[in-house]
Every structure is written in C-alpha cells, then in structure tokens.
C-alpha cells in the first residue's frame, strides 16, 4: 500500500509524532547533561573571582583548590542578589564584590576586588554580547582590567569616585575608556557606581579599622 504523503491527516500525524519524539530526545539530553553544566557554571564563577584577585591561567582542579584556599566567606545581599566574598591573599584581607550592569548589546557583569584601604586590588569584567574587538575588550583585555589596580574607590564622604572616562583628569580614581567602545565603557562606569554604592558604609568601616591598626604613614597616603 502506498501512503498518500500529501494528505492533511498524514501531515498532521507526521508532524505531531516528529515533535513528540524530538521533545523527548531533547528533554533526555538536557537532564543527562545538567549536572555537568551546573558544575561548569559554578567553576566559571570561581575562576572569575580568582581573575579579579589577579590569579589567572589556572585550569579546573587548580582553580578549585586555589579558590578554597583564598576565599573565606561568602555573603549575599537578599535585596539585589549582590554577593561579597571575603578573601585572604598574601596576608591581606581583600573583599571581592560582584557587579551587574548593562553594556551596549546586553548584560555585563564583573568582580571587583577591594583591598583594606578601599582601593582596587584587581578587576574582572564579563559580558554577554558585546562586539568582539571593541566592547568585548572589557573581558578580553587583561591590560585594560589591570588599569583598575590601585585606584581609589570612595571619597571621604563615601561617594563612589572610581570611574571610567574618556579623558583621564585624575589618575588616582579614573580609568581610560576602551577605544571604540565608549558605550560599553559607560556601562562599566554605571555598573561600578551602582554596585559599589551599597558597600560604602561597610568599606569605610573597614578603612577606619585598618587606619586605626596601622601607623600614621598610611593615613597620610590616604
């Protein structure tokens, strides 16, 4: 018997069966691979935090071990999901703060490591869909991320002064834009302002603590 493959009944049954088979197949693959994917995502977050602490080029197991060694506690702000990680590295207390913002084409995110004096210890930025070679440089260019190191984040009143600008006037607090990616850089700037605002009291508390604990030469530097 030859089926009439052009009859409406055949087409409807054919597509229904096909869709059900494909749906089962995809659901199965998704379920089977989910644990591994989750592990990868978790490891990626840890690696990004290590990047912000200037520990780069570690592969899976090494990164896992280093993370366990360096990161002491993890706190989450219940209101906005922002996270803070207390770390100890080379005998220094460093706090890594998670950041989220908007770039030109999609979300951007990052981790900023803050040292005891309220200065940037290290930075790492990530993006979802910025243009390769332009906006994507916030993630790809290690040199650009290293420009943040040593910048002052808050002024005496607790306002965020760390910024990304086109023309650097105050090298103590400002970082040069990525060339050709002004809008993405503006996004990074807004993300820093927004994400670090909530940490001012916390950070100033830490600053006073260290100032009290150290000799007066450091206070003059501040």
């Amino acid at each position: 018997m030859k089926l009439n493959t052009n009859s409406n009944a055949y087409i409807i049954i054919y597509s229904a069966v096909m869709v059900v088979i494909v749906a089962f197949l995809l659901a199965f693959v998704y379920q089977a691979l989910k644990p591994m994917q989750d592990a990868n995502v978790a490891l990626d977050v840890k690696k990004q935090i290590l990047y912000s602490l200037n520990i780069r080029n570690l592969d899976g197991a090494e990164a896992e071990a280093k993370y366990a060694e360096v990161v002491k506690t993890e706190k989450e702000d219940e209101n906005n999901g922002q996270k803070a990680y207390e770390c100890q590295i080379d005998g220094k207390n460093v706090t890594v703060v998670s950041l989220k913002g908007m770039g030109l084409w999609g979300g951007i995110s990052g981790y900023l490591a803050i040292d005891e004096e309220g200065k940037v210890y290290g930075a790492y930025f990530n993006h979802e869909g910025e243009t390769a070679g332009l906006g994507a440089e916030i993630k790809d260019s290690q040199a650009w991320q290293e420009k943040f190191i040593g910048k002052k984040i808050w002024d005496e009143n607790g306002n965020v002064v760390l910024s990304v600008v086109k023309k650097v006037e105050d090298p103590a607090t400002q970082v040069d834009c990525v060339t050709g990616a002004t809008l993405t850089s503006n996004g990074v700037d807004a993300m820093l302002k927004d994400g670090l605002k909530g940490f001012q009291t916390y950070a100033i508390g830490r600053m006073l603590e260290t100032v009290a604990n150290t000799d007066s030469t450091k206070v003059v530097e501040e």
Binding site: T5, N6, Y14, S15, M18, V22, L33, M36, Q37
Partner: protein
Amino acid sequence: MALFSKQNKEVFTNPLNVDHPILGQVLGICSALAVTSQLKPAIVMGLAVTVITAFSNVIISIIRNTIPNRIRIVVQLVVVAALVTIVSQILKAFAYDVSVQLSVYVGLIITNCILMGRLEAFAMQNKPWPSFLDGVGNGLGYAMILVIVGAVRELLGRGSLLGFQIVPDACYDFGYVNNGMMTMPAMALILVGCVIWVHRAYFYKEK
C-alpha cells in the same frame, strides 16, 4: 554500490575543491566572519558544523520518502534544530570555555545556509551513505576556510596561535604592534575574499 565507488568519492571531494560550500556555492559566509577572530573557536565551530551537517543529512536522507512535500522545510528545520541543541548542550557540558566563546553562534548553526542548502539539494534525493559523505565533505570544506581565516586573524591580530604566543617579545620591543583591524569581522570578509580569489584563479585555469 560500493562504499567508496568513484561516484561516492566525488560526492566527498567535490565540496573540498570545485564545489566548495563557501568558495564555490558562497554559503555560510555570515558565521565564517563571526567566529574566526581566534583559531580555537574556529576549529570547534568547523567540527560542530561538520557533525551537524553529516548527521542531519543522514537523518533526512533516511526519512526522505516519508516526508510530506508540503512541510519538508519544517521537517528539515526540526531535525537541524534538535541536533544543534544537542551539540550546544554537549559543548556546555564538556567544553564550557569554548561554548562561552562561540556564544550565540552555536545556536545560529540552525540558520547556517550550508545545512539547509545541502539538505534540500542533496539529502532529499540521495541515499543515506552518499548523503553522509556529502555532509562531511561540505562540513570539512567549511571548517577548512574557518581554520585558514582564524589562523591568519589570530596570528596577525593577537600574535598567537591557539592562545600560544608566536610572535616573540623581542619583536614587540622593536616596535611591532598587533594589527587590531584583524580582530574585527570586516577583515575576515577581506580574507575570505582573498581565499575565493586564489581558489577561482586556480580552478578556472584548470578548466
């Protein structure tokens, strides 16, 4: 028909030479421009497209006689989309870094014209084995161009290959600067143009 008869060999080698998917048929240009700024994602993308083209060709070829003619494009799309989703999930599980680098372009394999082109032009009329060879041939032809363009762009744009530094530091001390233009998609277009030029010059002379 023998597995590697003359006909089958031609099916496999044609897309690598005269009937090259990018150079001859000018299919799949868009993703060739997007993922070739470095060598590693270019290789993975080439492999992913090869696997997906080969298997979607086989599947479509097996069910070609049952597919209702009026919804054949829909059926082809469902098969391709299912395969692409599976490959993308596998990449996320086993090669997370690469899947992040390829980002949306894995998903966009679905719309890669090589796939639909080969399914319509070849798999719908041929038996599974030749279809498989055709898929692998076209996929490898595509991968070949990605690798050539990716290698040139990474070498000139970043001074490295597969992430390893190739240009010695001494060159940078003498004032050598990486060509930032190479990391942009526009240069990929120009490079593909050059490869097409060489390819045409060679094969048209032969004819």
